[in-house]
Assembly symmetry: C2
Homo-oligomer: 500 residues x 2
Amino acid sequence: MRFNITVRFLVLLFVCLNACISSSAQIITPANKPNEAQRELVERGYGMFIHFGVNTFTDVEWSDGTIPPGVYNPTNLNPDQWVLTAREAGFRYVLLITKHHDGFCLWDSKYTDYDVASAQVKTDVVKAVAEACKKYGLQFAVYYSLWDRHEPSFNDKDPQKYIDYMLNQLNELFTGYGSICELWLDGGWKRKPSDWGIDQIYQLVKQYNPKCAVSVNHTIVSEAGKRKAVLPSLMTEDNQYFFQYFPSDFRLWDPKIISKFDKKQYLHEGKSYYLPFEHTLCLSSRWNWFQKSAQLAVRELDELQELFYWCTDNDNSLVINVPPDRTGMIREYEALAVIELGKRLGLSENKPLPKNGTFISLLKPAEANSVFSEKDKIYSASYVNDGSLDSRWMAADTLAELIIELNPNDAFNKISIFEYQDTKNLPDGFSQVRNGRIKEYTIDVFTKGVWQTIYLGTEPMGDCKVIRLPKNYTASKMRFKVLKATAMPSLYELSVICMR
Amino acid sequence: MRFNITVRFLVLLFVCLNACISSSAQIITPANKPNEAQRELVERGYGMFIHFGVNTFTDVEWSDGTIPPGVYNPTNLNPDQWVLTAREAGFRYVLLITKHHDGFCLWDSKYTDYDVASAQVKTDVVKAVAEACKKYGLQFAVYYSLWDRHEPSFNDKDPQKYIDYMLNQLNELFTGYGSICELWLDGGWKRKPSDWGIDQIYQLVKQYNPKCAVSVNHTIVSEAGKRKAVLPSLMTEDNQYFFQYFPSDFRLWDPKIISKFDKKQYLHEGKSYYLPFEHTLCLSSRWNWFQKSAQLAVRELDELQELFYWCTDNDNSLVINVPPDRTGMIREYEALAVIELGKRLGLSENKPLPKNGTFISLLKPAEANSVFSEKDKIYSASYVNDGSLDSRWMAADTLAELIIELNPNDAFNKISIFEYQDTKNLPDGFSQVRNGRIKEYTIDVFTKGVWQTIYLGTEPMGDCKVIRLPKNYTASKMRFKVLKATAMPSLYELSVICMR
């Protein structure tokens, strides 16, 4: 519901508050070393992301703010089940979409009618999730879209009008629902960074909870003051890149993945600040975030497991999106997938997050007998073990092979391969049909002067193939040999790993 | 090498021996209850079958006895590696092909020149394997083909001529290579059962080792004295079927699989005898037994694991064929597959063989909305949980579904599905390309009045799909729903299982 009287009063209150906050140096927490909000973010490490809202009922990912609230109509809304699933799966926090780009609010906001209070099912979902988190011992985090395609003040020529709207809503969220450990802001590309009032938001949040970690999607750019985005996989040097949104406590770039050589120091006005990275991955093998009416498959557990290790390693964190469907519940087979993943990983609230083994192939000399567009060096063999899931080797021959030199003293017992997939986007603009190219292949090792095959794969690889060996090997070289492919073979990364 | 003088002497010796043996009631060990040879066979339970010989070098399965011994030419013969692999994989015995239908002997037999002594690599493979078994603490078993396509006496009009040849060779095997725990006889279909001298062979073997278990492939028939074979999966009643070859200590029918309701009592001349079953499976997903020059894929570990449980359960045993290649070694990726299998199963020489969980769906009412050729009842829904891997349900509609009623008090946490495969035989007459039909499907459970999907599969099922649930379920019904198939869906068996 909308109470216009309150708006003006609160805006006034915030102006006063902000004045007070600005005078307090303590409130600005980014620093050269991890602050407490950041230490806790890294320690939490693994959260369940929950996309739910009007889009859940429309089979689109980003609706434009015109869908009537009545469309939001879960038949069996059960946020308790969401959080119970999160606990069973070993997640340590829940990150809830409270408002997406469409502007529809999952709580009864005084500042808009575009919310659950106008829908048929009026349950305050933010409250229900916050309370379930308390009940099950998980921390509670909120996603809030800066970009708002419904709220009229968003289009006011005075940017502060909409900033005040956001401050009002965030005030509701941070005062009405207990402790919030993280604020995830999105859609910043729709305005100049300086027009979002990030500093005001940051100060408001820290006023209520200094340990709340705050960030805006696409946090970092390659040039100060310019919108030149930097892929997380390129963030391999300290003090090379710049804040786009300041202050922020962590880096975001949904759904990109950092390098194995991720660095943590970023610049703002000549000073260096520590920033961990929070990853966002979807459970769906179709890469959609809001649930669709059709049941879609989840990613392979092997892929999720390797990505878990990759994303939570090196003091970064990961949220996996597990969206409820139109009934208002997480689908059972999806719940089981994350629970099984947690079981495989051996997650326990009393233990630190588990780690992958040692990557013995990283940056070792790699050569392929075939490289696509070789002179351009954009698909070189060396990209296969450069620690980045964005760069890739691609062959010019479907029967290509690739050899990585290893230290013959380094034992290994696992190989993980991320294969490039041809993707076809579906009408929602997000969902992807993904098709690999490699259908048959071997992994060979060179030991005592001979090559021998230690794995023969005759099933399509999929996004990520994990080969676990029941004993340790050492070899001076390993070879990946394609026996059958439907297009030019291409690998993002091939890692030879020693699990302890 | 052939020493004709010795033949006559030994035949004479055997006639005497046989006369002595026949007068001793102790030597005939089949009985109404398990004898010691049978108890030990069941206790061993899990063996590595090794096919190696001239066929290894020809890409055929059954050669005709005319391949020159020079073709047998391993470049790096290493039987120690075979047995070491068997030990690492948790096998408890090794069953070696000493002579296949081609008649080529893997030891230097005095009674033929068609043996390793005539080849370039003269290593006595029987000796090497027997010694490696002793070294690594495994028991040693031999396969010996009755049918011999090389030995001239096989075609003599007096069947005893060739029986004597066999007795001579078996005498070599049983006196020259230490203790032999099992004798596996094959190819009996090429003569009348009474013309093989099975009783003479049996008596010879028992003379040397009373605890050696002896059997002939296709042991059991449905009518006494007739060649009416009975599938092992139909052996679900005691004293219903008859010995074809007597005496025998166990049943064989390579590579068929018994029913979950396997029975052990079989008739001979009005008396009932106890007979466990020994299964034979190949590691190759192409179902070939002798190694081929091309590297072929191994079966999925999930399939091997479920088959292990099925075959070793209920006091029966299993051998898995892991054939060396032309180098004379087991291929590394194949060795790793059985070692990984042993690790998954938790095999240990000091523990009994592991068991599958409880099958809570067995014989429960099953209904399908579509049955192929329904009036003939040859593909009824009830075949899907009848405990037989030979019978199957087949639908007449690619989008069929099948429902099994469950006891709502029975918990379960695993589902295994054996899908029928279309097969195409390759030129060797054995190797198969296997193609399933079901490409997408769900497993749904009916609980508290609603159906919910607990598994959504969007990859082809393969020979055996195993779905492990991270928590226990109870349901009054479970549904298997096909979402996409390339031909009429057909399942041999769907089992709902509770692992402890």
